[in-house]
Amino acid sequence: MSITSDLWASREILSNLTMREVRGKYKRSILGQAWSLLNPIASLAIYTVVFGFVLKATPPPGEPSGIDVFTLWLACALLPWNFFAATMMGGMNALLGNANLVQKVYFPRYTLVVSNMLASLVTFGFELLVLAAIAVILGSQIWIWIPLVLVFVALLALFGLGIGLMLSIANVYFRDTAQFVGIFLQMWFYATPIVYPVTLIAATQAEWAAKGRDFPLLWFYQLNPMERFVQIFRDLLYDNRLPPWGDMAYCVGAAAVSMALGSWVFSRYQGRIAEEL
């Protein structure tokens, strides 16, 4: 049974579960779906004040776009990160949060994790639309890069989904997973060039080298797949240039490894979920 035919067979349940997530999330709040935009706007505002004005992070202007707007530069990385974090965290809680369903009805269990990712994807889609519109107003020429943006949205979704699949199982067996991942995610956020430019890392490495400490800091730093993803989104949306081929290949590899591991772990351990919950 191939994964694609399996997914196709459960498309109805996926779309319904996704609708449930999307519609249920902001029900009974006065602003409703507007929250899905207000949340990133608020965090953009906070990070702009803290890192743009207080700490004076000065990313290089877009090359060749020439744009020099800190908030836009931030948004091009923060929104993909938020999507990734939501996919991962939501996926992690997907099985535990639906324990009553899993224990009472049989249906393909992975649909819970996948639909959670799809719901985040819907939110991310709206955010990207708004972001693209603003980028265009500020002079970004994103038109020819749109297909590549979509490709990397898909790759990022798969990368997050694979991790989500693994964590959803881990969270059933070890309830501390959620706490642990919460802390880890914060570390990961600051280990990714979202609120500061990657040039700072390169500068630190140069500084160390000057002091005689040769340490390939940047090499290690760039092992982080999210670093590559974030840089690619910035290349496409902010700088309007073709991302380095190496980075793109790295992202494809990261998504493939994550999905392979995730689906292997999930299919291996999903049989006992109902009794372990």
Binding site: E12, I13, S15, N16, L17, M19, R20, R23, G24, K27, R28, N98, N100, L101, V102, Q103, K104, V105, Y106, F107, Y173, F174, R175, D176, T177, F180, G271, R272, A274, E275
Partner: protein, 422 residues
């Protein structure tokens, strides 16, 4: 033999009983393993087949593995050994309305729940009106389900599950859903379902309804299959094996007369101090077979001399239907006067009650049957098992017999009488 709708092949299921349910990473790292646990087999090498189109009962005591087996058939649990093969769409009525999202409307939840149960959108659209109609909550269908009463919630859940047209329906003790009218609708739906040749698997403790609904049954005991066969045989064997004598009901002394307790009243000059059911062996029993000799022994205590006292006995079903009453005046056994302690017996040579549970009410009244000295409602409970005569249903056995079948051929000329029963 028709093909099996469900074949259970050497299924074993093991559960882990954690001594301390410690799902923390710390504990796992400290001990080098997740937690200490004992294993216990909820099912052990169970094999049987459920023929297509049959209504199949799973019986057994609590903890015998019935529900585990049902969950294995429903694919919610995975057997550790062996396998369950099902042919056709399976729907499990384990918990109704699980998976409803409280903030979403009934309509949205019908589509959500339907797709979880494996229905296509087109099918759901075609069935939508039927589902809503069956649940009887038309006017609330666009309200969020969190505003539903628990009854509405369960009714909608049931309506979805029963209308998804499964080939195999798994039911776990859920017939107590909603009011009487809704239950009737459910029973009708089950009947249609069986008529349509679909397979139903029921887990239940209600032997009476199992007897009338199922044609085959399997009996599980501590995870092992004891017997599989026709319902009548399996249920009888099960009931025989789990022969439980009821603890005799102690009749309170007259000092504990509580006028506010609706089960006992009377003026108290004479009281019943004991009610016992005796079998043919003269010993006390609470379980009899149809046709057994039963003696009811009443012990009394008269604190003053009473002229012509009358003892009364009646039998009701658990639901309260009054089946029989007999007093010692109609039984022509009335002493002129009575004082002090003693006992009196009423004997039924062959008790004509069908399998079920019944209650005895005892009383002491005066000769005119207008004054009650003591009245003990439902003071003894007893169970009936199958015996002789063996009849098909209802609380009472009438000892009827079938025969004298007369055939009339098509043109209306009486043919030869056929002996219906040898």
């Amino acid at each position: 033999m028709t093909e099996a709708a469900v074949s259970v092949e050497d299924v074993s299921k093991r559960f882990r009983m954690y001594r301390e349910r410690n799902q923390s990473l710390k504990a796992a790292l400290m001990r080098g393993k997740r937690a200490t646990f004992e294993e216990f087999w909820a099912l052990r090498d169970v094999s049987f087949e459920i023929p297509e189109g049959s209504t199949f009962g799973l019986i057994g005591d609590n903890g015998s593995g019935k529900s585990t087996l049902l969950k294995c058939v429903a694919r919610i649990l995975q057997p550790d050994m062996g396998r369950v093969v099902t042919r056709g769409r399976v729907a499990a009525l384990l918990e109704l309305g699980s998976g409803f999202h409280p903030e979403l409307s009934g309509r949205e939840n019908v589509y959500l729940n339907g797709s979880i149960l494996g229905m296509r959108r087109k099918e759901l659209e075609a069935k939508f009106d039927e589902i809503v109609d069956f649940s009887g909550i038309e006017s609330f269908i666009d309200q969020p389900v969190k505003n539903y009463s628990s009854g509405m919630y369960v009714r909608l859940g049931f309506a979805i599950a029963i209308n998804i047209d499964p080939d195999i329906l798994l039911v776990d003790e859920i017939l107590a859903v909603g009011d009487a009218a809704f239950q009737q609708k459910c029973m009708d739906k089950f009947a249609d379902f069986r008529k349509a040749g679909k397979t139903v698997v029921i887990v239940s403790h209600a032997m009476g309804s199992l007897r009338s609904m199922c044609d085959h049954a399997a009996w599980l005991k501590k995870g092992h299959l004891v017997e599989v066969g026709t319902t009548a045989q399996t249920v009888d064997d099960y009931v025989d094996a789990t022969h439980v004598e009821r603890a005799p009901v102690a009749v309170a002394a007259k000092s504990t007369h509580q006028p506010d307790d609706g089960s006992r009243w009377g003026s108290g000059e004479a009281t019943i101090t004991g009610v016992e059911l005796l079998g043919a062996d003269g010993a006390q029993h609470t379980r009899f077979r149809t046709g057994d000799l039963v003696t009811v022994r009443l012990e009394y205590d008269f604190t003053e001399r009473i002229e012509q006292p009358v003892f009364g006995l009646s039998i009701t079903t658990l639901e309260g239907a009054y089946l029989w009453g007999f007093n010692s005046r109609d039984g022509e056994c009335v002493p002129d006067t009575l004082e002090g302690k003693g006992s009196i017996e009423m004997t039924v040579p062959a008790i004509m009650l069908q399998p079920g549970t019944f209650e005895v009410t005892a009383s002491i009244i005066d000769f005119t049957c207008t004054h009650t000295f003591d009245y003990l409602r439902n003071c003894v409970r007893f169970d009936m098992d199958r015996g002789v005569p063996r009849e098909s249903g209802g609380p009472v056995a009438l000892g009827g017999s079938w025969g004298n079948l007369q055939r009339v051929d098509r043109v209306g000329v009486p043919g030869a009488a056929v002996e219906g029963r040898s």
